[in-house]
Symmetry: C2
Subunit: 233 residues, 2 copies
DNA sequence: TAGATTGTTAATCGATTAACAATC
DNA sequence: TAGATTGTTAATCGATTAACAATC
């Protein structure tokens, strides 16, 4: 049996399909065509059919997909059938907000250990957990079977924490710190930087104005410093 | 003069270059080759040269780029020369964490108004701001010159808030809510969903195991439900 | 059966990488 | 000048869209 590769672009869409299917299920729909799924997710219908075909064939020509079954298939594929113990590293403003974030729990991700290096935060009680020092991380990762960690530290200590996590056996990192971190082959990192995202928006705003009033000034070398149109996002 | 289009993929990298240049500047570097920038950012050197060429030619063959000058050029291009007033919508756990988030201020984004529809939150003081009801949003957007808003509400009210924001004249949305929102042409939306990101990681973990122990079971139709390899992220 | 919709193939599009002439 | 590194062209790669035969 040939193992078919699922592209990262497709993987990124699977959770979106789950959400769309949930919406449809809540609306009482039992079957959905790729066209209906397209409406619910904003993704093109042919793209959806192709993505789903990677998971094996589940649709019925002339009828569509079984909403509940498709949800199960995708959920199983992503690994949501089981519960994932997650470590939260960094208990600053962002980190503490995440302990109250409902989205993780809804998809079976549970924060089972919290770490911080600040003496002010170590020992704080959070629900039935307690903020722990870095020294306890390796043992906790092993004991609790943690594979996934969320990095919500300051930029300057993120790499250090990442090294500790990887040494301890964690193989997936959700990096919310404002810095690029490097990890060994085989470790997955997703980097989310709110500042990067909001800068893409200010770029959009800036372009809109520049193209609208044509006030693009020449740059230091006599060439215009920034071109573009308003439709880039 | 031909206006050249800057691709979304390139735009997404500009803030990363800024960060890399900041790191290099802090390390005392005054000049940087594309190769050095590649090390600092994790992006390939040819890609970097090509991206920068879109902004106009700033490097010196045989020498490299002037760190400070390149920073200025990119910052100006993104629009960071000015200050951006931002509206924060939704003052739950995530929203309140964002008011304390330093990254925005470092790039000249200022939260100048906070909105929530819960009577429990309306009126709360946050620094020198106060959480305001939806009714006050249109006037505030106009008075404060707000073009960019951050949506940090629950999924079920996100679209409603988005409609109100767009009607009031906001043209860029950073959507942190767990739902797809639709907006009219000309309005930019960036959607960040932490749950989506963490599911990409559990997919990675699941694939690693599936390919490692070859326990991929056939799905409902007799075909395997989920293929892939461990190197997709 | 007729109508609808899938799964997949072929065509298009865009983004990345490699290679190198131009230039300091 | 010789060495280094840019900016850009050509080659590769991957992802999206369009079209349609297969199928319920």
């Amino acid at each position: 049996m040939k193992v078919q590769r699922i592209s990262p672009a497709t993987v990124a869409r699977l959770p979106i399909y789950l959400q769309g299917l949930e919406t449809l299920a809540n609306a009482g729909e039992e079957r959905a065509s790729s066209e209906k799924l397209a409406e619910a997710t904003g993704i093109g219908a042919p793209r959806i059919r192709r993505d789903l075909s990677y998971l094996g064939a589940f649709g019925t020509p002339g009828v569509g997909y079984d909403v509940r079954q498709l949800f199960q298939v995708i959920a199983r594929c992503i690994g949501l059938a089981r519960e994932w113990p997650v470590a939260l590293v960094g208990y600053g403003s962002l980190g503490s907000a995440l302990t109250a974030y409902a989205g993780f729990a809804e998809r079976n991700f549970r924060i089972v250990a919290i770490f911080d290096k600040s003496p002010k935060r170590i020992g704080l009680r959070v629900g039935n957990l307690e903020v722990r020092p870095p020294e306890e991380l390796p043992a906790a990762v092993k004991e609790l079977g943690i594979d996934i960690a969320i990095l919500a530290t300051a930029a300057n200590s993120a790499q250090e924490w990442a090294n500790l996590l990887v040494r301890s056996g964690v193989t997936s990192l959700l990096n919310l710190a404002r810095t690029v971190i490097t990890v060994p082959e085989g470790v997955a990192v997703r980097h989310i930087d709110l500042t990067t995202e909001i800068q893409m928006l200010s770029f959009h705003e800036t372009m809109k104005r520049t193209t609208a009033d044509s006030s693009d000034r020449p740059g230091p070398n006599g060439k215009s410093a920034c071109h573009g149109n308003g439709e880039t996002l």
